[in-house]
Structure formats: structure tokens, C-alpha cells
């Protein structure tokens, strides 16, 4: 069975719905990842050895939790988090439910990216801020975040693209989305038309996100 244009048109509404679901899941989980992952990444960085809030206990505790969540395969996380999903989303199926697991996976991922971005800052710049008598909060807001923002934007891009890939597995909990559509129709039912359309949409989506991310990162960098 080859590509069938008419078939694609009849499934148009379904594709559109799936596309909307993908965006919905990414938007929620990305927002959560930024709101929790960013502070967590900063915490991991500033409590590191030799930095102004050095604290071995905090660093190793949070580092351990982050590594633990990151080492669990997403598909297992998706199932393991069903009880939590029930509490937070009120249901265990649908895009909202899938967003819970996506968020949990994205938080440590993004936190590590933020930590790596902060590591790229010249230690001397941080030291100069310490020497000036700045408070830790000032250093975070006025030195760390501005200096790392271009790199963090690249990290956001990377996180979104990973979320696009993860969201394909959301079908396991009835999450829907483009990836789920590809699996349900294209893979299980040998529907090549849907397979091709969804893959093309995913390719275009990822390209666009990457382009936009690169462009933004470059535009805000004053170096």
C-alpha cells in the first residue's frame, strides 16, 4: 500500500487533533521542566565544590535523585507514575495524564542541561562578582543567568525535541499525539499514508524548533 492522498484528507481531523495533543503535552511538560528544572540546575551548580554555595550534602542528594529519575526508561516511568498521575491529572489517560510523566522525565533532563550551561561560564567572572561583595542571589540573577542564557536557550531547544520523541510513547497511557498516531495507524495497521504524513510532520516540527532555538540563542548573545 502506497501513499493515498484521499485517505490522508479523510484522516485530516484526526491528524490535526493529534498535532494539537502533541503541542499540548510539550507545552505543559516544558513549562514544568523550566519552572522546576531551572532552579534545580542552578542548585546543582552553585552547591558544587569551590562555588559560592558549596554544599556536599545538597549536591550529592539532588544529584542522586536526578540521576535516578534519568536512569529509568521512559516507558517504565510512564507506567510507574500512574498513581501520581491519578492524583495530579485526575485521570490516567489522555494528554494531561501523559504530561505528568513527561514533566517528571523532563525536569532532571533540563536541570542537567542548565547545570552544564552554567559550567561553561568563566569561573573568573563569578569570582569577580564574589570579590565585589555581591550576594548569592545577585550572582545568580545578574551573573549566572545572563551569562548562560544563550546556552540555556539551546538547552530548551534540546529539551523540546526530546519531549517530541518521548511524547510518541504517550500512547501507552492513551495520551495521543502525532507520535502515537504514527504508532497506532502506521505501525500496528500498516497504514503507510499515516506513517509518512506523521513522520514528515515530526521532521518539519523538529527542524523548525531547532532553527528557532538557534536563531533565538544567537540573537540574545552579546559576546
Amino acid at each position: 500500500m502506497g501513499f493515498d492522498f484521499a485517505h490522508m484528507m479523510t484522516l485530516g481531523p484526526e491528524i490535526l487533533l493529534a498535532f494539537g495533543q502533541t503541542l499540548y503535552m510539550i507545552a505543559i511538560s516544558l513549562t514544568v521542566a523550566i519552572f522546576i528544572g531551572l532552579p534545580l540546575g542552578i542548585l546543582l551548580f552553585v552547591t558544587d565544590k569551590g562555588l559560592f554555595l558549596e554544599n556536599r550534602i545538597i549536591k550529592s542528594t539532588f544529584g542522586f535523585v536526578v540521576n535516578m529519575v534519568r536512569s529509568i526508561p521512559f516507558i517504565i516511568l510512564l507506567v510507574a507514575l500512574i498513581p501520581l498521575t491519578k492524583i495530579l491529572a485526575g485521570s490516567t489517560i489522555g494528554p494531561a495524564a501523559a504530561s505528568v510523566s513527561l514533566s517528571v522525565a523532563a525536569i532532571p533532563f533540563f536541570a542537567r542541561i542548565v547545570e552544564t550551561s552554567l559550567r561553561e561560564i568563566d569561573k573568573g567572572v563569578i569570582e569577580a562578582a564574589v570579590a565585589v561583595g555581591a550576594t548569592p542571589w545577585m550572582i545568580i540573577i545578574d551573573v549566572l543567568l545572563p551569562e548562560a542564557k544563550a546556552s540555556i536557550v539551546q538547552g530548551v531547544t534540546l529539551t523540546i525535541i526530546s519531549l517530541v520523541a518521548y511524547s510518541a510513547m504517550a500512547g501507552v497511557v492513551g495520551g495521543g499525539g502525532i507520535g502515537d498516531l504514527a504508532i497506532r495507524f502506521g505501525y500496528y495497521r500498516y497504514d503507510n499514508t499515516i506513517m509518512i504524513v506523521t513522520v514528515v510532520i515530526l521532521i518539519v516540527l523538529v527542524q523548525l524548533i531547532q532553527q528557532l532555538g538557534d536563531w533565538t540563542s544567537k540573537a540574545i548573545d552579546k559576546r
Binding site: G124, A128, G133, A134, M138, K149
Partner: protein, 337 residues
């Protein structure tokens, strides 16, 4: 002003402990420019970084204006740091913030009210002659301009001390001179005590009042810059001085000398040429200049001449003791300096 007592800094590495600063005791007076010289690894960088506790000393005390910094923590330490400015070899400006914002950052650290920040930033920019660069990002500035921003940031909260960590080592000679003049001006006009570390003796010669020479974490020589230049005690100090005042005479010339080779040094008010002329006239010796220079250190001349004296041994000895009587320091040498 700054009292450093038995200061030591020991680094723990995988291969055991390394001593960065070893039992250093120094006293720096208010209003002076104090230079610390040494090769890389001599511990001078560790020492200056201990002065504002960027590095926590292992033992010893640092008293600035009567406060022992090593006892301070958190808020108290931050407050003390407001009054200790620091500039760096690589400037370390916030690259994503404008020149004005970089300076404002230091003012914010001191809780300066917002309505006073702009005025103070303009004032500081004027002091370092960068008024037209307020809204420019550091990437658009030259090295010398970046260091000026660094200086403005360091002076933002009216510090009593300015620490300079190899502040001119990344700059070309002309820019170095301009920055050194600015530092001297700041020292004089604002009466800020300056402590600088460098491996360039030129810097010390240019602006320092007193100096210390460091090797393996210890201070091996310390004193007035003029005194040290005219009478260095250690080999290391002589080595450093020869980088500025060098008497390189080709070997072939030295070998061709048949008379006695002497190094004559005149300090300050002794008019060197006059003494030598008188000597040649009064004694039956011939003088032959091989090298000579007059260095001005802290605006005082220091004359150094390398010459060959020819004649009877007896006459030469008399000539030398005559020169010594007239205030010259004479050293018989075989190979120049």
C-alpha cells in the same frame, strides 16, 4: 593598614599537600602602592586572593583597617569586600551586560539606592575616561578599555584597598603604561592603598613604593623599591632587576678588556658623571665606558655604569676608593652584571 601575619595556604591534591603561601608576614601601609613580584607558581596569586578571602587561608591572619578578615563569614565578609576592590588579568566582566550595567552591579551589591546608581556610574566612567562607552557590551572593547571598566567596577563602592591580580599582564606595553598611570592617579587622588602582583619588574619600577619578592610561597626580600633596585640582596631579585636594567655586553667586548672591570652605582643625589670625571682627572687611570644607564625610580635617579679602568693596580685601587668616598658603590666584576 594591611597586616598579614603568618599567612599560609596549603592545597590538598591527589599527590599530597602543596604549599601555596608559606608563613608570609607583611605589613602594607596606608596610601602606598605595594608590589609583589615572583615567577608563576611562587604563590603571589594565592597570596593576593587570600587578601579578600577568595581563597580561605589555611592559617594566619589578615587585618585590614583593624578587622581580621579571616574571622568573617557570610554577610560580614561581603560587607568587608565592598571596601576591597579587585581587578584581574582577564578583566572578568559580565559579557552579557553593558559597561554601565557591569559597574551598576557593584553598586547594587552595596545596596545603593536606584536613583543614585546612574549618577555614580557616570562619575566612575568619567574617572576612567570611558564616558562614551556606557551602553556598549564588553565584547566591543579593547583590552585596555575592559580593564578600565574593571577598575571602575572595583572603585564603585569607595574601597580603601585595590587588589590588582596581574592587571596589566594581558595588555600591550603602551596600554600597560596607560593603565599603570591611571592606577597611580587613583592611588594619589583617592588615597587608595594598592596591592599588586606581577611578574613584570617594569610594573613595579613604574608605580610601586615598596615591594616584596616571592619564591616557593615565601617572601625572600622586601623593602623600598628604590633600595631594592640599588642593592638587591638575593639572586632572584637580581634576576628580576636585570630584566629591566640589563647590562648585556657582548662577550667579545668583555674578553677584549685588559683593564679592571668595575660596576659603579650612584644613588639619587650623587651626580655620577661628575664623580667619574673627577676620578679620571685626579688619578693616573684611563676609564672606558662599556655600558651605562640612569633609571628613574619613584622620580629618583639611579645611575649604573659598567666601565673598564686601565692603569697601575695601585692607581686603580686608589681611584676606586676615591669613588666610594664620593658616595658611589663600586663592585669589581668579571662579566658585567
Amino acid at each position: 593598614m594591611i597586616e598579614i601575619k603568618d599567612l599560609s595556604k596549603v592545597y590538598k591534591t591527589n599527590k599530597g599537600t602543596v604549599s601555596g603561601v608559606d608563613q608570609v608576614t607583611l605589613s602594607i601601609k596606608e596610601g602606598e602602592v605595594f608590589g609583589i613580584v615572583g615567577y608563576s607558581g611562587a604563590g603571589k596569586s594565592s597570596l593576593i586572593r587570600c587578601l579578600n578571602l577568595l581563597e580561605q587561608p589555611t592559617s594566619g591572619q589578615i587585618e585590614i583597617n583593624g578587622t581580621d578578615l579571616t574571622k568573617l563569614k557570610g554577610r560580614e565578609l561581603r560587607k568587608a569586600r565592598l571596601k576591597i576592590g579587585m581587578i584581574f588579568q582577564h578583566f572578568y566582566l559580565i559579557s552579557q551586560r553593558t559597561v554601565g550595567e557591569n559597574i551598576a552591579f557593584a553598586l547594587k551589591a552595596a545596596n545603593t539606592p536606584n536613583n543614585k546608581i546612574t549618577g555614580r556610574v557616570n562619575e566612575l566612567l568619567e574617572m576612567v575616561s570611558l564616558s562614551d562607552k556606557k551602553d556598549v557590551y564588553p565584547a566591543q572593547l579593547s583590552g585596555g578599555q575592559k580593564q578600565r571598566v574593571g577598575i571602575a567596577r572595583a572603585l564603585a563602592n569607595d574601597p580603601s584597598v585595590l587588589l590588582c591580580d596581574e592587571a596589566t599582564s594581558a595588555l600591550d606595553p603602551n596600554t600597560t603604561l596607560a593603565i599603570l598611570r591611571l592606577l597611580k592617579k587613583i592611588n594619589r587622588e583617592l588615597n587608595i592603598t594598592i596591592v599588586l602582583i606581577t611578574h613584570e619588574m617594569n610594573v613595579v619600577k613604574e608605580i610601586c613604593d615598596r615591594m616584596a619578592v616571592m619564591q616557593s610561597g615565601r617572601v625572600v626580600e622586601e623593602g623600598d623599591v628604590y633600595d631594592i633596585f640599588s642593592a638587591p640582596k638575593t639572586e632572584l631579585t637580581k634576576e628580576f632587576i636585570s630584566s629591566v636594567v640589563s647590562f648585556d655586553v657582548p662577550d667579545s667586548i668583555l674578553k677584549a678588556c685588559t683593564g679592571r672591570l668595575i660596576k659603579v652605582l650612584f644613588r639619587g643625589d650623587v651626580a655620577g658623571e661628575g664623580v667619574i670625571t673627577d676620578t679620571i682627572q685626579q688619578f693616573n687611570v684611563k676609564g672606558n665606558f662599556l655600558h651605562g644607564s640612569i633609571e628613574y625610580i619613584q622620580d629618583r635617579p639611579l645611575g649604573l655604569f659598567l666601565m673598564e679602568l686601565k692603569g697601575q693596580q695601585e692607581d686603580i685601587n686608589q681611584a676606586i676608593s676615591y669613588m666610594e668616598k664620593r658616595g658611589a658603590q663600586v663592585e669589581v666584576t668579571t662579566n658585567g652584571i
